[in-house]
C-alpha cells in the first residue's frame, strides 16, 4: 500500500510544503503525546518519591531523592485486607480469568462476524442489531439476577460433585467470572469483527467456496489470517475491560484466594483512613496495569500496514 499523505508533486515548492507538512504532523503528534503522558508522569514521579516529598513538594517536580521502596512495598508487602503479600499474589488470579475470557469471546466474536457478513440469512441483521443493543445494558442492573443464576450454577456443581466427584467448574468463582465476561463481551467482539469483515471482499469467500472449502476451512484459512488488526483491537478492548472490571469481580469473587487484581488494588488504594501512601498506591497501580500495558505494546506491533495487501490480492 502506498502513502496516503502526499500527492507526489516533484518540484521544489512541493518539497518545501512536504517538509512543513511533516513538521506540523510530528509537532501535533508530540503535543498529544504530552497530553496523554501527563498523568502517567505524575504517577511515575510520585511512585519514586518519599511521603515527605509528596506532602511538601509539587506534584509535577522530579523526585529529589528517588526511592524504590514504594515499588518494593507494592510488589511484595502491601495489604489487601488482612492478607499482606503485595500485588504479586494476585496476578495469577486475574490471568487465569482474563485469558480464557478474552480468547473465548474473541473467537466467538470472529465466528459471529464471519457468519453475519459472509453467510447472511434472513433476519441476520435483526440478530446483529439485537446483539449490538445488548452492549448497552448497565452492568449494575444485571448484578443481582446474574448472581442468582451463578448461585444456581454453584448448587448444580455441588450435585455434580456428589454424583461424579468433580464440579466441572460449576460454582467456581473464576469460571463464573469467565462466563460473565464472555456473555457481556460477545456483543462488542461481534460488532468489531462484523464491521471489519463488512469491508472484506466477498469474492474471496465465494472463490474458496467454489473450490469446495468448508465453512470452517474458509474461516481458518481466509478470514482469520486477514484479521490481525481487528484481532488486536478486540483483544486490547476485551483484555482491558475484563482486567479492569471491579463490579463483577468484587461481587462474585471477593474472597482473598480468588480475588482478581483490581479488587486487590482497590483494597490497597481505596482506603480513607490512615496516612494514604500515595507513592505505594501509584506503584501498585502501575504493577496492576503491567499485563495490559504489555499486551498493548506487543499487540500494537501487529497493526502493520500491508497485511491485507499481500493476502487479499494474492
Amino acid at each position: 500500500m502506498s502513502a496516503v499523505a502526499t500527492p507526489a508533486r516533484q518540484n521544489t515548492g512541493g518539497i518545501r510544503a512536504r517538509t512543513v507538512n511533516r513538521i506540523v504532523i510530528y509537532g501535533l503528534l508530540a503535543l498529544f503525546a504530552l497530553f496523554y503522558l501527563m498523568p502517567l508522569f505524575v504517577m511515575l514521579v510520585t511512585s519514586f518519591k518519599t511521603m515527605d516529598e509528596i506532602q511538601n513538594g509539587n506534584m509535577l517536580a522530579l523526585p529529589q531523592a528517588p526511592t524504590f521502596a514504594p515499588w518494593i512495598r507494592a510488589w511484595s508487602e502491601v495489604c489487601s485486607g488482612l492478607t499482606c503479600v503485595g500485588m504479586k499474589g494476585y496476578f495469577w488470579n486475574s490471568i487465569k480469568m482474563v485469558v480464557p475470557a478474552v480468547v473465548i469471546s474473541t473467537l466467538l466474536g470472529a465466528l459471529n462476524g464471519y457468519v453475519l457478513t459472509k453467510w447472511r440469512f434472513r433476519g441476520a441483521t435483526l440478530v446483529f442489531g439485537l446483539m449490538l443493543f445488548a452492549c448497552f445494558i448497565p452492568f449494575q442492573s444485571v448484578l443481582l439476577p446474574m448472581a442468582t443464576i451463578l448461585g444456581s450454577f454453584g448448587r448444580f456443581g455441588v450435585k455434580l460433585q456428589n454424583a461424579t466427584g468433580l464440579t466441572f467448574g460449576f460454582g467456581n468463582p473464576t469460571v463464573n467470572l469467565v462466563f460473565v465476561h464472555v456473555v457481556y463481551g460477545i456483543g462488542f467482539t461481534t460488532l468489531f469483527f462484523r464491521n471489519y469483515y463488512e469491508a472484506f471482499p466477498n469474492e474471496l469467500v465465494k472463490a474458496a467456496q467454489i473450490d469446495g472449502a468448508s465453512f470452517f476451512q474458509i474461516f481458518r484459512r481466509i478470514m482469520l489470517p486477514n484479521s490481525l488488526p481487528i484481532i488486536v483491537v478486540t483483544v486490547i478492548y476485551q483484555f482491558t475491560n475484563i482486567w479492569n472490571d471491579f463490579l463483577f469481580a468484587s461481587a462474585y469473587a471477593g474472597s482473598g484466594d480468588v480475588m482478581p487484581m483490581t479488587v486487590a488494588l482497590n483494597n490497597v488504594v481505596n482506603t480513607s483512613t490512615g496516612v494514604v501512601e500515595y507513592n505505594v498506591n501509584m506503584a501498585a497501580a502501575m504493577i496492576a496495569a503491567l499485563p495490559t500495558l504489555l499486551v498493548y505494546v506487543l499487540a500494537g506491533r501487529y497493526f502493520v500496514r500491508g497485511l491485507m495487501a499481500g493476502a487479499v490480492k494474492g
Binding site: A3, V4, A5, T6, P7, L29, F32, Y36, L37, M38, P39, L40, V42, T46, N58, M59, L108, L111, V115, W119, R120, T125, V127, G129, L130, F133, A134, F136, I137, P138, Q140, S141, V142, P145, M146, I186, T190, F192, N195, Y196, E198, A199, P201, N202, Q209, F215, I230, I236, T240, N244, N266, V269, N281, M282, A285, A289, V295, G300, V304, L307
Partner: protein, 319 residues
C-alpha cells in the same frame, strides 16, 4: 461507501436446490446459524431477560431486595417529578442534564480526536510503534488510581494552577473541579483522555484494512489529500464509526467510576451521571424500584437515539 454495500451479497450456498441434498449438506447449511446460536441465546437470556426483570422491578415496591408484588408506577412518577424539578435541581435532573453535556462532548471529541490521530499516525510516521502505546495506555490503567492523578492535576491547590503560579503566572485560574457548574467538564477531559486512544486504534485498524489500490487510483486521478480522506477514506471507515460510536456510547453511559474517582460526585452532587444515580438508588439508598426505573429510562433513551441510527446503518441495502 457504495463499493462496500454492493459487494455484500448473500452467499448462502445455492446447492440446496440440487437433488438428493444429503443430511450432511443440510447440516452444512445450518452450520452458520448453529455457530451464531449460542451467542444470540446468551444475549436473549442474560440481556433481554434481565431487562424484562428490571422493567418488572420498576413497577414494584422493591427496596433493599427485589420484591415481586406489582404496586404501580410510583417510581416513574417520582422520576417524572424530579425531571422537572430544576430549582433546586434534583439529583435526577442533574444526572440527565450532565449526561447530555457529557455524552455529547465525550463522544464527539473522542471521535474527532481519535480519527485525527489515526490519520496522522497513518502518514508513515517514524516512531509509530512508540507513539501508539502512548495514546493507548490510558485505557490500560484502572481509573481507581489515574483518578487520583487527575484529581491532583485539576486541584487548584495542588496541580496545574499551583504549578503555574509557582512559575510566575499568578493570574492563572482553573478551579473547574471545585465548581458546581463546571465540574462535569473535568469529567469530560479525563474521559476523553482515557478513551480517545482506543478510538484512535479502531480507526487505525480500519485505515490499515482499506484497499491501497483504491487510494492509489484516486491519487492518480489528482485528488488532494483532503479530498482523498473526505471523499474516499472516511466513507470507507463508516462501519468503524459505527463500532466506535457504540463503544463510546456504552462507555459514556457506564462512566460511573470516572465520576466517583475524580469528583466523589462533585460539589452537592453536581457531577452525577445517570449511572451514579442508578447505583446510588439501587445499592446505597435501597430504593431498588427507583434504581430500576432509572435504568429503564436510560435504556429507553438509548433506544430512541441508537435504534434509528442502527436502522439506517444496517438495513439491507438495495441490491
Amino acid at each position: 461507501m457504495s463499493t462496500v454495500a454492493e459487494t455484500s451479497i448473500t452467499l448462502t450456498p445455492e446447492h440446496d436446490a440440487r437433488p438428493g441434498a444429503s443430511v450432511r449438506s443440510r447440516l452444512q447449511d445450518a452450520l452458520p446459524k448453529l455457530v451464531l446460536a449460542p451467542s444470540f441465546a446468551a444475549s436473549v437470556v442474560f440481556v433481554y431477560g434481565f431487562i424484562l426483570w428490571t422493567i418488572y422491578l420498576s413497577f414494584t415496591n422493591s427496596k433493599t431486595f427485589p420484591s415481586y408484588a406489582i404496586t404501580g408506577p410510583r417510581a416513574y412518577q417520582r422520576l417524572w417529578r424530579w425531571t422537572f424539578e430544576s430549582d433546586p435541581p434534583s439529583s435526577w435532573y442533574t444526572s440527565i442534564t450532565n449526561m447530555g453535556i457529557f455524552g455529547f462532548l465525550y463522544i464527539s471529541i473522542c471521535l474527532a480526536l481519535g480519527l485525527f490521530l489515526a490519520i496522522l499516525l497513518d502518514q508513515k510516521i517514524r516512531g509509530e510503534g512508540m507513539l501508539r502505546p502512548i495514546y493507548l495506555y490510558p485505557m490500560a490503567l484502572s481509573f481507581i488510581v489515574t483518578g487520583v492523578a487527575w484529581k491532583w492535576f485539576l486541584d487548584p491547590g495542588l496541580g496545574l494552577e499551583q504549578t503555574l503560579h509557582q512559575w510566575g503566572w499568578t493570574s492563572f485560574h482553573f478551579d473547574w473541579i471545585k465548581n458546581k457548574d463546571f465540574v462535569i467538564y473535568t469529567v469530560v477531559i479525563a474521559g476523553v483522555w482515557q478513551a480517545s486512544g482506543f478510538i484512535m486504534a479502531m480507526f487505525l485498524a480500519g485505515l490499515r484494512g482499506i484497499d491501497g489500490e483504491i487510494m492509489k487510483a484516486a491519487q492518480i486521478d489528482g485528488a488532494t489529500t483532503f479530498q482523498l480522506y473526505r471523499r474516499i477514506v472516511i466513507p470507507l471507515l463508516r462501519p468503524i464509526f459505527l463500532s466506535a460510536l457504540i463503544v463510546l456510547a456504552h462507555l459514556a453511559i457506564k462512566s460511573y467510576d470516572l465520576v466517583v474517582a475524580l469528583t466523589s460526585g462533585g460539589p452537592g452532587g453536581s457531577a452525577w451521571l445517570p449511572s451514579n444515580f442508578m447505583y446510588e438508588y439501587t445499592f446505597k439508598r435501597n430504593e431498588m424500584a427507583v434504581g430500576s426505573a432509572s435504568a429503564v429510562i436510560m435504556l429507553m433513551t438509548i433506544t430512541a437515539i441508537i435504534v434509528p441510527y442502527l436502522y439506517s446503518e444496517l438495513r439491507e441495502k438495495p441490491r
